[in-house]
Structures are given as C-alpha cells and as structure tokens.
C-alpha cells in the first residue's frame, strides 16, 4: 500500500497497535489507535507529545467535544464500502466543528473516482494499492478544479 497526498506519494509511518499489545507503554510516535484507545490514553499522549493517529470506521464516525480530537496528529477513516458517504460529512465536521488541523487520511474501500471529492471535503491523503496509483492520478487530473461549490 502507498499513501498519496494529492500528486505526491510518500511512505506511511503510521502503524496499528494490535489490541493484545495495547499497553500504554507501547504507544509511540506513529501508532494508530482506535477511538476508545485514544479516549483512555489521550492525556498521557498529550503530556508526552506523542504523534499518534486515531482511526474510525465509516460505520462509526461518532465523536464528542470531550474527545479533544484536534490534538491527534492524524485521523484515518476506513471506508467499509465506497458507497457509504458518511466519512465525507465526518471530514467536514472534523475540519469545521472539531477544528482538526492534522492529516486526514482515507483508507479502505475507496475509488479513484472519489479522489477530488475526498480532497474537497477535507481529506489530505489516501491509502491505496501501489498498482492503482496511475489511475488515481489520472482521475485527479481530469477532475481537479472543476466544481461549482465554494
């Protein structure tokens, strides 16, 4: 898998922590946590200034103000299916309501045809198969800049 940030490919440095390995001391820069793991450890993470990501599933994009999600370095949303459009609204909420300024990444079942939509809703990057890179870039070029909404 590769990460595309618009036209640029870069190496992923985030990694999930397996549930059985989830110990506070195992959290380090680049860990991906679930929202419940984040809730349990966010104070330590913030105190120790650890750069972690929080992941959500398109099935469960719920969040409250108490989660202080703006303090996470990266948020990854895993699409169960590309047909589930909730993450597009969730991305808007993260940016506009929860004031999240970090990297927002789309992963899971997403289509290159959705690239511009993702970017325009506030996503920065996508996790895709390396062999699909060309088609993602091709569709980005066809669609970029052509839209009506502000």
């Amino acid at each position: 898998m590769i990460i595309l940030q618009k036209k640029y490919e870069y190496k992923n440095h985030y990694k999930q922590i397996k549930e059985q390995d989830f110990l506070k001391q195992n959290i380090r820069n680049g860990s991906i946590l679930s929202i419940s793991q984040w809730r349990k450890t966010k104070h330590i993470i913030q105190d120790q200034k650890i750069d972690v990501a929080v992941e959500f599933s398109s099935n469960d994009c719920s969040l409250s103000d108490h989660d202080e999600i703006s303090k996470a370095a990266m948020i990854q949303i895993n699409f169960e299916t590309f047909k589930d459009g909730r993450p597009f609204t969730f991305a808007k909420m993260l940016r506009r309501k929860h004031n999240f300024k970090g990297e927002l990444r789309a992963a899971g079942h997403i289509l290159p045809d959705q690239f511009v939509f993702l970017i325009r809703c506030g996503f920065d990057s996508v996790e895709i198969k390396e062999e699909d890179k060309d088609i993602w870039l091709e569709l980005l070029e066809i669609d970029e800049g052509l839209y009506y909404q502000p």
Binding site: C61, F82, K83, D84, G85, R86, F88, T89, F90, K92, R96, K97, L111, D113, Q114, V116, F117, L118, R120, C121, I135, E138, L139, I142, D143, L146, Y147, Y148, Q149, P150
Partner: protein, 550 residues
C-alpha cells in the same frame, strides 16, 4: 433559458471523459460491476430488463428546439427512434449500448445537456412548475432558484454517496403543479412582510412508504437557501439509515425522529456550519434571473381564432391556457394519444416539435411532471395554425387533466423492478374512454399507474391510483382512491382487494358511477366528491355488486 458558462462547459466535458474512463475500466475488469453500478447510475445509466436505459436530465423541464433536435438525433442513431418523458421532467432512452454511451454524452454536451445525477444515491434533477414564469399569481419565477440549486448539487463532494436518492422540487406560487409535497425537499417561494423567501418542506416521498412532506421552516430568507439545504443534507447523510434500502430515504429519518427533533438537528447544523461563501447575494440572483426573462412578448388584444371545428374547439378548451401577457397562450401538448405509451414521443414528433416551437413559441419547450409537453408562449392568432400543425404529428390530443391523461411508469415492458405491466393498462383506459365528451362529463380526474410498489407512476397521489402486483405469476391491480399531488397533497386510500387486468376497466366504471351518483353539480369534481362522501360509498358500490371474479 439558461446558457452554459465556460465552467459549465468544462465540467460537462470532463464528466464525459471521466465516464469514458469508467466504462473502459469496467470492460477491462478493473472495476467490478458492484463498483461500476453507482458510477454509471450517477450518469443516468441503468441496467433494465432487456437493455441499458439512459436517463437524460432536462433541468426543471426546460428545453430549447436545438436540444430537442439533438434528443431526436440520439433516439434515431443510438436508440429505436423514440424517447420517454418522465415524471421528473427528464427523458429516457430504452435501448442504448454501453459502448455508445460516452458518445451519446458527448453529443448531449454539444447542446448543453447531460445525464449527470439523473440516478444514483445523490441529489437528482431539480424539478419545477412547468408554468414557471408564465402565470400572474406567481411570487417569483422558481427556475433561477432551480438553476442555483442545480449548480450547487452537481458533483457535490459531500453529498454524492447519500443513503439513498434525493429529490428536490421548487415552485413559485400557491398552486403546486410539481408534486412538491412528495419530494425529499420541497421549496415554495413565499412573501412575508415584503420579503421574498422560501417555505421549506422535508421528508415527502412515494415508493413503498408514501408520506406527505412536513414543513420544517415557514420562512427562510433567500440568501440562506444553499446553507439551509446543506444543513438538511448534512443531517441526512449522517443520520439517515443505511442498514435497509427500503428505510434509507429521508422521509423515514424524519418520521422516526419526528419533525421537531429533525428540525433541531438541522437548525443546529445551519447555525454552526453555515458558510458565508454559500450565501447568495443580490448580484448573483440578478445575473441568474437574467437568463430566464420572457421573450419579447407585446401585450395585445388578439383573440383566439374561432373556427367551426369541434375538435379544434375541444383542444382550445382543454389544452390551452392564458399566458400572463395578454394576447398569448400557453399550449399544452398531450403525450397521451390513444394507443400510445404515455409520455413517449417519436424522433419524428420531436423533430417536428422543434420546428413548431421555433415557429410558434420562441424555440422553447417544457416538459411537465405529468409527462406532457408545453409550448409556453404562443400568439393567440396562431392557435388554429398551430393546432393544424400539431394534428398532423398526432400531438393534438385534447385530454389535458382528463381521465385518459394518465401518469404511467414504463412497467414490466421495460423495467427490471416492475411486478406488472402498466402501459397496457393506460392504453386500455384510453381506448375505453376515448370519446372527448364522455371524458369531459367525468371531468378533472387524475389516474396514475405504477407497475410496482416503487410508485414511479405516482399511484399514491392519483385521484384514482392503480398499482400493478404479481400474485403467483399473474398480474393484479390494486386501486387507491382520493390521492392528490397538488397543494392539497394526499395519499390515496386502498379501496379493497385487487382486480385482474380483465376486471379493471369494469372496476373503474363502477367507481365513476359512484362518483356520478353523488355529484352535486356539474362542476363538482371526483376528488371533491370523494372527500365529501369518503371511501365507504365507493367500496360498497364496487364490491357489493361485483361478480366474484375479483
């Protein structure tokens, strides 16, 4: 009429390229059918019973003669020489080949047309009153607002993968000729304290759970319209059900939450997420309204020509209504000629109509949600000439608003979802009631026919609604009574056990007899009588005397 800007042109052209790419990937196996389906649907391409079907958008039902000619050309070159006008003012081609579709889209783009978002779980074509801009009691022309909403909703990055399809209608006066109250969002332009704005309705719809929309805002200032629509769509995209396709429309969400709770979520999104850049300023409004000015019509005292020809007189009485500019008329063209599938027009008829509209109506044609066409600005003195011309093309059927002016879905003759045929039912009705005077005596009556529970033929809101069902491989038809799609929108009530195709006309006759029996005077129409006496009387007359063959 609206004219494309450079941005519009670029967007449409790039969309054709994108679709071409999608078809290529599908054929190469890089897209699965499951992945391709929502993408093709967003370009109006369905897989039907026998072939693909392409639904082309006619934004708010407005067409130029040039566009109609192009549609005729496409019907001839890529289809079987006809098209079907739909209840959302679009047109469908029933036989295109997948590989031809990108080329068809390219042809359409050359006349500023497309098939974008005519299907799929996104915001569909914005529909409107076919008499928009033509009547005196209108507060404001709804078409510029439809255009503003069309742009905003096209390729909306956030709302292209909604739980289910989403339909919006806009009207500009009290009379509702767009079935606004059975839309996901209905907007009515209203005036309050010298300020013009919108009355907003939400959660209407037909299908297997018919619901009349609820009012969510009595008054919304114009400038806020897009932010308010965003607030509703945000709420729906987040909260709408995705676990069951039959419960995924916004009407179910509004019903389950209750309108008050739903409203509070919307208002919160509206106050917290509104975007200054989405506000519409006066300059923007003025610019868009500029596209929708009337052609240069000069008020005059020309009268409608009198001819001693009964057929012509019937047509004037039934199909022609006054224009707001004196001396002109609005001509409604029925696409419900006897023996013809309702809403269909042949390519020859379309070519003729394009020419006729150039000669008689400033090159403008409108499509109505009742699957008819309109020539909006015809000089009174030309009406007899026009009638003669229309008659040659079999486009002068005098039945607007009468029993044979049915709304009818394609049914099992085309549709993969249908459980029964609907076109033959409509044809039986038009054959049985083909006499104008007989129809006139029955008066205003809307029969709406759907070939399945999805209700594309609007049966729930027909004064008489007919729903085709499958019972152990045999077609049966359930009748509902008392529905209305107008400003007094009502869902019809099921009258009782369904009828076989052979008994259906007899059943309709009995229903009409009950109506005639209770009619107080000549002008009391079917719906008024139904509302006065209730379904019981109809039920009694219909089933008590019915031979047990039902």
């Amino acid at each position: 009429m609206y004219k494309y800007s450079d941005t519009d042109k670029k967007i449409i052209t790039s969309r054709v390229k994108q679709f071409e790419n999608q078809v290529k990937r599908r054929l190469e196996g890089k897209l699965t059918e499951e992945e391709f389906k929502p993408l093709r649907l967003m370009n109006g391409l369905y897989l039907q019973l026998h072939a693909y079907m392409l639904r082309v958008a006619i934004p708010y039902g407005e067409l130029s003669s040039k566009q109609l000619r192009k549609i005729a050309f496409i019907a001839d070159k890529y289809d079987r020489g006809y098209g079907h006008f739909t209840t959302r003012q679009n047109i469908q081609f029933n036989w295109p080949k997948l590989l031809d579709v990108p080329e068809i889209l390219r042809e359409l783009s050359s006349v500023e047309m497309h098939a974008i978002q005519t299907s799929g779980n996104c915001i569909r074509n914005i529909s409107s009153d076919h008499l928009a801009g033509l009547t005196l009691n209108e507060i404001e022309d709804p078409r510029p607002w439809c255009e503003i909403i069309r742009k905003w909703s096209t390729f909306h990055p956030e709302f292209s993968f909604l739980p289910r399809k989403f339909k919006i209608a806009v009207i500009g006066c009290t009379e509702d000729r767009a079935a606004m109250l059975v839309h996901d969002i209905g907007l009515r332009i209203v005036e309050r304290k010298n300020q013009v704005g919108f009355e907003v309705f939400v959660g209407g719809g037909q299908g297997r759970t018919p619901i009349i929309a609820k009012r969510i805002r009595a008054f919304l200032p114009k400038k806020d319209i897009l932010n308010y629509l965003e607030a509703i769509l945000t709420t729906y995209n987040q909260e709408g059900r995705r676990d069951n396709i039959y419960k995924a429309r916004i009407k179910i969400l509004v019903k389950e939450l209750g309108i008050e709770k739903f409203k509070s979520l919307v208002e919160e999104n509206f106050s917290k997420l509104s975007n200054k850049e989405l506000e519409i300023d006066d300059k923007n409004i003025e610019e868009i309204f500029g596209f929708f000015r009337l052609p240069p019509l000069k008020s005059n005292t020309n009268q409608i020509p009198f001819k001693k020809n009964q057929e012509y007189q019937n047509w004037i009485k039934q199909n022609v209504i006054p224009h707001k500019i004196q001396g002109y008329s609005i001509v409604q063209i029925s696409l419900k000629a006897p023996k013809k599938p309702p809403g269909d027009a042949t390519s020859n008829q379309m070519i003729a109509l394009a020419e006729i509209s150039e000669k008689f109506s400033f090159s403008e044609i409108r499509v109505t949600h009742e699957q008819n066409l309109v020539l909006p600005h015809v000089s009174n003195k030309e009406l007899f000439n026009l009638w003669n011309r229309l008659k040659i093309e079999n486009l002068a059927t005098s039945n607007l608003g009468l029993i044979t002016d049915t709304i009818c879905c394609p049914g099992m003759d085309y549709c993969a979802l249908a459980t029964a045929r609907s076109i033959p039912i409509s044809q039986k009705i038009s054959k049985h009631f083909d006499n104008y005077l007989q129809q006139k005596e029955i008066g205003d009556l809307k029969i709406k026919i759907s070939g399945c529970i999805n209700a594309c033929g609007h049966h729930h809101v027909g004064n008489i609604g007919i729903l085709g069902l499958d019972r152990k491989g045999q077609e049966f038809y359930q009748i509902t009574l008392g529905g209305s799609a107008k400003e007094d929108a009502t869902i019809g009530e099921i009258v009782g056990p369904s009828f076989s195709e052979n008994n259906l006309i007899e059943a309709i006759e009995k229903i009409l007899n009950t109506y005639k029996k209770h009619k107080r005077n000549k002008s009391e129409d079917f719906l008024t009588v139904f509302r006065r006496i209730g379904i019981k009387e109809f039920k009694k007359d219909l089933y008590d005397n019915f031979t047990k063959k039902v």
